[in-house]
């Protein structure tokens, strides 16, 4: 039986090593970190990994390395029994996906790739609005690790998917790493397999899997996802500098970082029996994971992040939308130059509240955009005829609606530096509330020190241990959020709240935070025009969990009613910050 586990995550910037031990219960011991060394001049992922583990050795006093060898298994308080690793170093797994129809097979292929932990560099479809020569040019420009080709239902015409194969053959893209032929996973109409092999066989390494859309109403993502995962380990990882050593050193297969986080999110949703939304906002990318009605989805917004990509958030969101979250005056020029300087010196940290709140305003916009992106991909199948009931008679939908319903999310977990390391936990809670605008009743938490990847890979070996550590050391409970949907006149009583004693009322336009550390049962009465998820005006009796922030009652409206007049907006924000006991620049703390 394992007594000590070393888990490492080789990120694109830093390698994080964590030690877990069993001392009458599993727990986190400590964490060491060092810059990742997958690129020049080091070109060997192991150097950064040794540095991170050595720091962990210093912090814990436990010897885990002898020279360059890991001490496995543990004896007399030395070494570890399991050594696990996840990786997104070297830019992660970069894929090109292709399908015949943008909203059907191409979208399914896109979901399969994202669900397998990839960054999708482009999605080519015959109806994507580009001309053939433009598609060929684009395929030539990008250098993917793996290509996923889908299209057509089994038994249907093969012409379109074959034309995609011809396009790929004409483009002849080169691999990002190494000189081996690029793997192409074919997951389209099974009748076209031979033809696809004939066209691509000489130039690519073709792998055939089951059709991703065997019938229009069936989406079969698992075989393609497994093929991607297998190729990631066998092909992409082996090309990355130093990974051969890492693969030999670990006691179990390496997992891609987002895949590992996804496993953990799925495990959590299963345990809670509810809908879960998780987000990891990094320096370069933002990943969103969701499980809604048992359907798992994951997206990565490759250019939304807080350091390398911070200016891309500025470009995509625009400065006025960043400014709207700031309770003080700051010129667009100042925001621009400050974000540019953060981009070129990504390791600096905010020293003033004003600077911190500018970063947190950008984070709100990055999170909002990442969720929008996620909603657009996590949706029901398009083009599927469905049986309608009498109740659906007046609802005109043709499929393609998002699965993400923010009034049905039970738990939101935030991860990544700006959320996990926010100086005050209430800031993390407020960033998530403003960006995601969850409605009804939602539980909020953050990942304490970004250990979801480590626990995800651990869950593939010892799921119970991973879960035990997850609840004990990973999740930092922030508290429950009550946010009624709808709009009434500002100042009217929106919600009244009773626990063991009456907590009082919250008026429309206000947000209040009540202290609640543990759990309590509450009767929540909304205004007759407001809805807590049970229907307009319906009371809700619910056991609610507290946390480091408490019980948050947000009656600012859904969608948020941000005042358009400048002075009113700043006043509105100041009241919000005060409700969360957050300091404002220039105020004595």
């Amino acid at each position: 039986m394992a007594k000590a586990i070393l888990a490492v995550d080789c990120g694109s910037t830093t390698t994080k090593a964590i030690l877990f031990t069993d001392e009458g219960g599993w727990h986190l011991v400590s964490r060491g970190e060092a810059p990742t060394t997958v690129e020049a001049p080091f070109d060997n992922v192991m150097l950064g990994l040794y540095n991170a583990v050595r720091e962990l050795e210093e912090l814990t006093g436990r010897e885990m390395l002898k020279g360059d060898s890991f001490l496995i298994p543990s004896t007399n308080g030395k070494g570890v029994d399991l050594f696990l690793a996840t990786s997104s170093a070297g830019g992660g797994l970069q894929m090109l996906v292709m399908g015949v129809v943008k909203t059907m097979t191409a979208e399914s292929a896109h979901r399969a790739a994202l669900g397998a932990g990839a960054i999708v560099v482009d999605c080519i479809a015959l109806d994507d609005g580009r001309e053939d020569f433009q598609r060929i040019q684009r395929i030539r420009e990008i250098r993917p690790d793996i290509i996923l080709l889908a299209g057509g239902t089994d038994g249907g015409t093969i012409t379109h998917v074959v034309s995609l194969a011809e396009m790929l053959s004409a483009a002849e893209p080169r691999a990002r790493l190494g000189n081996l032929p690029i793997p192409v996973i074919y997951a389209g109409n099974k009748d076209a397999r031979e033809e696809v092999k004939r066209i691509l066989g000489d130039k690519f390494s073709v792998i055939i899997t089951e059709n991703i859309r065997p019938r229009l109403e069936i989406e079969n993502l698992a075989p393609a996802r497994e093929a991607i995962h297998e190729l990631f380990l066998q092909h992409v990882m082996r090309q990355a500098p130093g990974y051969n050593f890492l693969m030999e050193a670990t006691t179990h297969p390496i997992m891609s970082t987002p895949n590992a986080v996804g496993l953990m999110v799925q495990l959590l949703a299963k345990r809670l029996g509810g809908n879960v939304l998780a987000v990891d906002i990094g320096g370069a990318t933002t990943d969103v994971f969701s499980v809604f009605s048992q359907t798992y989805n994951r997206t990565v917004s490759a250019n939304l992040g807080m350091s390398y990509s911070i200016c891309n958030v500025m470009v995509e969101a625009t400065i006025p939308l960043i400014q709207r979250w700031l309770p003080f005056d700051v010129s667009p020029k100042e925001i621009r130059n400050s974000l540019r300087n953060k981009m070129i010196r990504p390791t600096t940290i905010p020293q003033t509240l004003k600077d911190l709140y500018i970063e947190q305003a950008v984070a709100r916009e990055a999170l909002r955009l990442a969720l929008e992106h996620h909603k657009s991909l996590a949706r029901s199948l398009v083009g599927v005829q469905r049986e309608r009931t009498v109740g659906d008679l007046f609802v005109q939908t043709t499929g393609g609606e998002t699965l993400i319903n923010m009034s049905r999310v039970d738990m939101i977990i935030g991860s990544g530096g700006v959320l996990s390391h926010a100086p005050k936990r209430a800031q993390a809670a407020l960033m998530m509330i403003d960006a995601f605008q969850p409605a009804g009743i939602t539980y909020l938490a953050v990942d304490s020190i970004f250990m979801m990847p480590h626990l995800g890979v651990l869950s593939s070996v010892l799921p119970d241990v991973a879960e035990e550590i997850f609840w004990r050391d990973c999740v930092v409970p922030l508290g429950s959020l009550i946010a009624p949907m709808g709009t009434i006149r500002e100042g009217e009583v929106a919600v009244s709240l009773e626990g063991k004693e009456s907590l009082g009322e919250v008026r429309f336009g206000e947000v209040k935070v009540f202290p609640l550390k543990d759990e309590g049962e509450f009767l929540i009465k909304p205004h007759r025009a407001l809805d807590l998820g049970e229907g307009k005006g319906r009371e809700v009796v619910r056991k609610l969990k507290g946390g480091l922030v408490g019980l948050i009652v947000d009656c600012r409206g859904r969608p948020l009613q941000i005042p358009s007049q400048e002075e009113k907006r700043k006043e509105w924000l100041r009241r919000t910050y005060q409700a969360f006991s957050l300091p404002l620049p220039g105020e004595a703390r």
Partner: protein
């Protein structure tokens, strides 16, 4: 006088540099070992496969892919001219004739009996690889390129746009903070150095035909207006702009560091090779200025952040003291709580203006005296 620079960024009057010049695909190396090359010397060349065009022949002729064969006038491997008929069909007893013409000059690569599409590839295009720096060829990478060794001053900037260019280095201001106010016609083909630059002067530099502009700082709006768009992700070097722009210190009104300025002054009139390509991620790539010269001197030693000591000269690189210079008074071992509420390791700094301040160590750059 003290000089500022960013840790990890090199600013040295003398370095022995080896530049690997590699073709993107296999080709032919045109120079030999020991050969002296100029920036514009072509050191290797390759034939880039031309782009492919897909012609929907079956669709144009109104025939199924499997029936296309009998309408073809050309076969796989045949060369075709632009507008040349490659397939045709006749119907209504010869009354109606349809033609498929090649949109380009090239070679037929594929004819698909399934889709009825014909793939035609353009003729390969020659790619000529310049030396980029003046120096000696010291290694041949067979079929791939060469390694060129050069000796000279080497400076890295913090951000740049535009790719490889070269020209005579000309310092056009008299002090590191002075903005560029005038660009004369004689600066055509030169790499010019100044404290800062505004939009009007950047336009003027482009009109005159200046090859490169090196400044301490620039306002982001000026850069956006010059490029015509906002840069999102910090990966640059491929911009379609008439000159290469290198920013040495950051965004805003920041003078060029004294150390860099002194070097530029010293080598005024020398040939400089510059590249604005920047990639701020793991494996950071910063813009560079290489000024080859024959004067042997000791290479400047780069000090890193972990050598921050009491007495070290520093510059603050984040608000509220952004850009100010000072000296470390103390390095308290315990983390301090900042105004933000975050805990961080800090340095106590005596700024040159006499103010005594506390700054997170992550927000300091070391300055070499």
């Amino acid at each position: 006088m003290s000089q500022a620079y960013t840790p990890g960024l090199t600013i040295t009057p003398f370095a022995k540099l080896r530049k690997v010049r590699k073709l993107p695909i296999k080709g032919e190396v045109l120079v030999g070992i020991g050969e002296w090359v100029k920036p514009e010397s072509v050191v290797a060349r390759a034939l880039l496969p031309g782009p492919a065009h897909i012609v929907k022949a079956g669709e144009i002729l109104g025939v199924a892919g499997e029936d296309l064969e009998r309408h073809l006038l050309k076969r796989v491997g045949d060369k075709v001219e632009e507008n040349e008929v490659i397939a045709s069909s006749t119907s209504f007893f010869g009354l109606s004739k349809k033609f498929v013409r090649s949109p380009i000059k090239g070679t037929i690569e594929n004819i698909s009996p399934i889709t009825g599409n014909i793939t035609i590839r353009e003729e390969p295009k020659p790619l000529l690889l310049p030396a980029y720096v003046e120096g000696e060829v010291v290694e041949i990478l067979p079929s791939e390129g060469v390694v060129i060794e050069t000796k000279g001053a080497f400076l890295q900037g913090i951000f740049g746009v535009g790719g490889e260019r070269w020209g005579k280095l000309r310092v056009v201001v008299s002090s590191p903070a002075e903005p560029i106010r005038e660009i004369k016609e004689e600066l055509k083909g030169c790499v010019i150095v100044g404290g800062t630059i505004d939009g009007e002067m950047l336009r003027r530099a482009s009109e005159v035909g200046v090859k490169g502009v090196v400044v301490g700082g620039i306002y982001d709006e000026v850069l956006r207006d010059f490029l015509g768009y906002d840069i999102g992700v910090a990966i640059t070097g491929q911009e379609d702009i008439p000159l290469t722009l290198i920013i040495m210190e950051g965004f805003g009104e920041l003078p060029i560091s004294q150390r860099a300025f002194n070097l530029f002054k010293r080598f005024d009139g020398f040939l400089a090779s510059i590249n604005g390509a920047t990639q701020i991620r793991a494996g950071v790539m910063r813009p560079e200025i290489i000024i080859p010269h024959k004067e042997e001197m000791p290479a400047f030693e780069v000090k890193l952040m972990n050598q921050l000591l009491e007495g070290t000269r520093v510059r603050v690189i984040r608000e509220p003291y952004f850009g100010l210079l000072g000296k470390v008074l103390a390095l308290p071992p315990e983390p301090r709580i900042l105004e933000t509420g975050a805990k961080a390791r800090v340095a106590e700094v005596l700024l040159d203006n006499g103010e005594r301040v506390v700054v997170p160590r992550a927000n300091l750059e070391i300055i070499i005296d």
